[in-house]
Subunit: 597 residues, 2 copies
């Protein structure tokens, strides 16, 4: 199917948008009127520019407030439409979106609206054009798809059809099931947007919080199947109003948008992507360190019971191990700075297929120019710049490391990696969620929001079904300004233990101090046994319990190397979260420690 | 009256918040439980810290979900309350806020709720404490102030009273009028928050969009008068959940908060501020320029028909004039950078009173160390750092300038300053609105939001009654990131003309080019006469019409000196806006020009 994107999805000037849409591989665009109005490029030149870029102009939009109980106003609107037909002719676009009226004088009479649309459609037809009529979810009288279809059917004009927009349909309670029964050929255009479930005014919800398919809560595949059942064969076109995308690099957003469409096509089985292979677990996590952060991280790893077991054959790269948790310290960094998770590796049952799938989803693997395992592993770049390696089962990647011969220490009972915590760049949080979901096949877990000492946070985790691969993504709800004395974009690795008290006792690095006030509150909140709480307090262990009573015991370390910390978790059976209620305690404690080193 | 602030209003750790509240002059705080829980400071030490800072702890909050149809849960809550009473005892606070339950098992029976509150109040009383019961606007069953008062009255316990929160009361449709009839002594606590009118879920509205009194749309003075009529003599306490304040410098926010309370007290006549004197107009606008931006601005002023009429006696400061529009170019800048509006002067009928009022509102005037008029003028610093001079009637400030003797040019028909346009720092937009309103006595005009090429914008203008002083404040809805190729925080001066076509013809600088597409759309949108539109197009003049038919004709210049531009406006009678619909055209054109110089 052809793929289009409305210019309103992207930031910048019209030329910025066209360039971005073409570069991401879109076949066409919906031209949002305001983007043309503010552009110095004449319509005929826009057409030529689109031709040069290989883009069709599939829709001109929107034309507002046509129908009216005031005939004079309606006549005025017809004149207005003629001016827009002139523009469309110069643009070479034959379909205009006419949305249901929100004006005080909007008609509430299907016959009148049908008659007025028929008159407009006649004028359009005379110019070789056609009208796609759409029910805005907040239309004054016409606000549901079924009413818009009743009106279009009543009009019965060949140049009048429907525009269906998934947001307008799915944000309302009217069932979309009947869409499959729409007369073939009468759906002129299909606009797609996802959205989170929000309890707010539908206009504000629509104008600020739409998302690309797969990023929200709507069942887009089911919706599109209904439309396809009605014989629709036009483009799948994205129309997403989103505050963040409106101000983000349009080239990035366009790729994110295209990835969402490819994923949707795959779900619809109109395109076949290689399925995401099952992932087995975290193979290793690589930190980039420099002369300052390296010693700090080594000391922290030792304190956590890790042993430096391997040294890269040729490069300044160390392997540290405990249980099946592996940390790689890479000192071959080109510019000094805080420590960072530069890469992580997950084990795939079929790395070749993982890589092929990633490439099909516009996340091409690039040759691994960094250690370890440079001979075998291809890296996929995540939206935050982290390299994701996909390794085959087994530890082949370890062949590049020579054993240090250092005997493994007693360890602290750490078993494996539970999850990675990656604070995301503000502009790319939803992009990251979609990336991990579509490219690696990880599922979205619940999104949580909480108040932290320096502002509100949003967290969304992705994980495989067996929960052996988990990544917790976080972002500030507002991009941070100068007053943000917390660590910017912190990253962490959480390790599992099956006895956190024993592990805590075995650590030789002090955990992050947890306030006594926290434990007093714990007793009140959860009615915990005082002895248990005393034990937790002695070791700086935090406690969370989900509404079903499943428990998490966990502890954090201070921040090392300027940006990273570690967490140790004992997940009691059934607990599937990340201890989010404790994150503010951690942030306050990390802040306190920085001010009182 | 005593003034308090809830710690949740401010960003940072508990110590950051206490320090900020004390520095801004608050008498007390409401301690938000989570701020204590994440703090390493024990309750007794918090009390001591507050004592040292001169702060009382007026309320401990919130205690949630007390009442229940499940007696076991209720008993558990009583135990939980006892633990909190322990904390309160150590803090030395005697009142706890108990909010209406949102739990599934919340009671819906006034008798049961009254009985459970009575039992809690008895326990509180035994410890010398008391319960302030508050109806959350989204409480499961108790969500209005009148029901909470019925329950408290029914309970009839001396240690049980009401907490009234202006948001919870005014966000609901139940009239607050009956508050004046509440039994004296039964309102234990008063929380104040303003808010904009928003059509959204009340919980989200409350948790993200509250504002300080005077920043929103609620009639706080009327509300507080009702509470005072009921004999309330406790503190006026702010409880504002706001996404921006939650992440802004708490010292700044606390001052903003205190200014809002002082303004409220003035409106209530419980404190007497010197009234804001009537302002007569803009006296002059000063630009800081350096060796690069100075020549650009001089050339632009010449092109606009200004004449360099005066030179400061001792400093590198020039006076440029046309009509009664005066621009001062100050080259005595200490660090190079883009040109900026460093100061502006407004004429006051009583500058001394303006300055006294500003000082009482925590915006103390400081001696003017910059030209012009250093002998006479005191400067008040606006939230964005701009100095606001308040000059007496007449042009006494010009005494420091020696006439250049340069004969005035023919000019371009500019009469005076219409308004200043000041893009505000993201964290200080609402603070700026309150500053201009309370300190200078300017009224808020409507707030507008619009989509601009690089993201959504919000604009709010302030003006005096006679509209001789206007300042248009703008901000991006999301703090800008790297992809923001527009000018950051642009500033501009708009001049009036009574014949913009003649003025445009007389300009010797080219106005900002306006796309033909804009004019084509203008004809369609407003059914304007084609000849008129051709004239507008010839001169780059834009056109706006408000819903009542009042008209604005205006034009923009390109950006000079890296940050500033000029506007020329012909306001037809009755037009009271700022041509906001044309701002995206300007931004796109300024962007286009920068890419195609």
């Amino acid at each position: 199917m052809r793929r289009s994107i409305a210019t309103v999805c992207l930031s910048g000037t019209l030329d910025d948008k066209l360039t971005a849409a073409a570069a991401a591989g879109f076949d066409g665009i919906e031209l949002f009127e305001n983007d043309l109005v503010v552009s110095p490029t004449a319509p005929a030149e826009v057409r030529k520019r689109c031709d040069d870029l290989g883009l069709s102009i599939d829709l001109y939009q929107p034309f507002r407030d046509l129908d009216s109980t005031d005939d004079g106003l309606f006549r005025r609107s017809l004149e207005r439409a003629e001016r827009k037909f002139d523009v469309m002719a110069a643009l070479g676009v034959d379909t205009v979106l006419v949305c249901s009226s929100v004006a005080p004088a909007a008609a509430d009479d299907d016959d009148l609206i049908a008659a007025q649309l028929t008159e407009l459609a006649g004028r359009a037809q005379a110019r070789g054009m056609r009208i796609a009529y759409e029910a805005l979810a907040w239309g004054r009288h016409v606000s549901t798809w079924d009413r818009s279809w009743r009106i279009v059917r009543r009009a019965g004009h060949p140049a009048l059809g429907l525009c269906l927009d998934s947001f307008h349909v799915l944000s309302r309670e009217v069932s979309p099931a009947g869409i499959a029964e729409i007369t073939p050929g009468k759906i002129f255009f299909l606009q797609l947007a996802d959205a989170p479930h929000l309890s707010m005014d539908v206009l504000q919800w629509s104008r600020h919080h739409r998302l690309f398919p797969g990023q929200g809560a709507f069942d887009l595949p089911a919706f599109v199947r209904l439309v396809l059942s009605a014989g629709y064969d036009g483009p799948l076109s994205l129309e997403v109003f989103n505050d963040v995308f409106r101000q983000s690099d349009p080239a990035r957003t366009a790729v994110d948008a295209m990835r969402s469409l490819i994923g949707l096509e795959d779900a619809l089985a109109v395109r076949h992507l290689p399925g995401a292979p099952e992932l087995a677990g975290h193979a290793f996590t690589e930190f980039a360190v420099d002369g300052n952060s390296g010693p700090e991280l080594r000391s922290a790893l030792r304190g956590l019971g890790f042993t430096h077991t391997g040294q890269h054959r040729t490069k300044p790269v160390e392997l540290w191990e405990q249980g099946t948790a592996r940390i790689v310290l890479n000192s071959a960094v080109t510019r000094p700075g805080p420590a960072a998770i530069s890469a992580f590796a997950v084990t795939s049952t079929d790395p070749g297929r993982s890589v092929t799938r990633a490439g099909a989803l516009l996340a091409p693997a690039h040759p691994n120019v960094r250690e370890p395992g440079e001979t075998e592993l291809a890296a996929i770049t995540a939206p935050d710049g982290t390299s994701v390696f996909v390794t085959p089962p087994g530890d082949g990647w370890r062949a590049d490391f020579l054993p240090t011969g250092v005997p493994a220490g007693p360890g602290a009972g750490l078993l494996t990696v539970d999850h990675l915590g990656l604070a995301q760049p503000f502009d790319h949080f939803d992009e990251a969620g979609l990336f991990y979901h579509s490219v690696l096949g990880l599922d979205h877990l619940a999104t949580e929001e909480y108040a932290a000492p320096f502002g509100l946070m949003r967290s969304r985790a992705v994980a495989n079904t067996s929960r052996t691969v988990r990544v917790a993504l976080t972002v500030a709800l507002l991009r941070r300004g100068e007053w943000a004395p917390a660590v910017a974009d912190p990253q962490h690795v959480a390790f599992t233990t099956d006895d956190i008290v024993a592990t805590a006792a075995a650590l030789t690095l002090p955990p992050l101090p947890v306030p006594d006030n926290y434990y007093d509150d714990l007793i009140a909140r959860f009615a915990l046994d005082a002895d248990l709480v005393a034990t937790l307090a002695r070791h700086g262990i935090l406690y969370d319990r989900d509404p079903s009573g499943h428990e998490l015991l966990h502890l954090y370390t201070p921040v090392y190397g300027g940006r990273v910390f570690f967490e140790i978790v004992e997940r009691r059976p059934g607990y599937d979260r990340f201890g989010e209620p404790d994150a503010p305690v951690r942030m306050a404690a990390q802040r306190h420690r920085r001010l009182n080193p």
